[in-house]
């Protein structure tokens, strides 16, 4: 589907489409909105350094980190709008790295001895 076709059908990537060809990017206002969410999440992360939240600290930090990671990759890096092939390459590298180094950390008894 060419950009002309997209424009005529009204099926733009603003709606989350995954065109493999040319694509439209979000508006500046949307980017600023995403940046504001990222800023708030960072502030919440930092607040855990000053406020003791007990055993939920590490899971909370991991969830917030994951959300920030997703927002930057999906919106700023346009994975949400671009070809799914890009996502496959990136996620492929990420999954491979996570798998390999989880095994390495296990071999070094990181989970039991820290």
């Amino acid at each position: 589907m060419s950009t002309t076709d997209i424009a005529q059908s009204g099926d733009t990537s603003h709606d989350g489409g995954h065109g493999d060809e040319g694509h439209e990017h979000p508006s500046d206002a949307k980017y600023i909105q995403i940046a504001a969410i990222l800023g708030v999440l960072t502030a919440l992360e930092v607040s855990t350094y000053f406020v003791n939240i007990g055993p939920v600290l590490i899971p909370t930090l991991m969830v917030m980190m994951g959300v920030k990671f997703f927002l930057v990759a999906a919106w700023f890096m346009h994975l949400r709008f671009d070809s799914s092939l890009f996502t496959k390459f990136f996620v492929g590298g990420l999954v491979l790295a996570t798998g390999v180094y989880m095994i390495a950390l296990t071999a070094f008894e990181f989970w039991t001895k820290g």
Partner: protein
């Protein structure tokens, strides 16, 4: 019809050099490179996690990290991702003036982050944490230093784009080049999101 015409130019730039897949080879190459970078930083982060408790000959991570200072640095780098994406957005609209402004702002924010890292490193060295002080210090400086080198390379690329723009050789049809540099810049930001949480915010051992 006019609207359709205006959407054709950036679209043509995005479709450059497609090899049957309908996607840009240059962009695909950058994504493959970023996928491989995950393995590099994964190795460095894992090494840090394994060695972070081995600090017997020097300061412990929990004693030396300055979380408020690093938080400000992290926020600066995070906001540089916004200015980067605004630079691309401006170029896609054919707004060369704002493209230059946001490219320069991104480079300045990146430089501010690097300045903060240099300050942090020199403070650590003054407090007795050198590169060879302990396995922890070697792993820490290698990981954050590698990230700093990546940010510095990104700043060089941004300044190259800025100078190209000043010379008039960065136009709307080159938006894919800016997008590819942007992908690299956002990746460096994503890596720092991970480093900031795992290395700084997750409680570290103290002496």
């Amino acid at each position: 019809m006019a609207d359709v015409m205006t959407t054709e130019a950036p679209a043509a730039a995005h479709q450059s050099e497609g090899a049957g897949t309908g996607i840009s080879n240059n962009k695909l190459l950058m994504w493959v490179f970023l996928g491989s970078e995950c393995l590099l930083f994964g190795g460095l982060i894992s090494t840090y996690l394994i060695y972070r408790s081995r600090f017997h000959t020097g300061p412990a991570p929990g004693d030396i990290f300055d979380i408020p200072f690093t938080s400000v640095s992290s926020f600066v780098l995070l906001m540089s991702s916004l200015t980067m994406v605004l630079a691309l957005s401006a170029l896609n609209r054919g707004d060369i003036r704002n493209n230059r402004l946001w490219l320069l702002t991104t480079a300045l924010l990146g430089s501010l982050f690097i300045g903060g890292q240099v300050y942090e490193f020199t403070t650590f060295v003054r407090e007795g944490l050198g590169y060879t002080t302990s396995p922890f210090s070697s792993a820490f400086f290698t990981l954050t230093g590698f990230h700093g080198i990546h940010v510095s390379v990104g700043i060089v690329m941004l300044m190259s784009l800025f100078i190209s723009s000043l010379r008039g050789s960065l136009r709307q049809e080159h938006s894919e080049t800016v997008e590819i540099v942007g992908l690299y810049w956002h990746f460096v930001d994503i890596v720092w999101i991970f480093i900031f949480t795992v290395i700084y915010l997750v409680p570290s051992p103290t002496s």
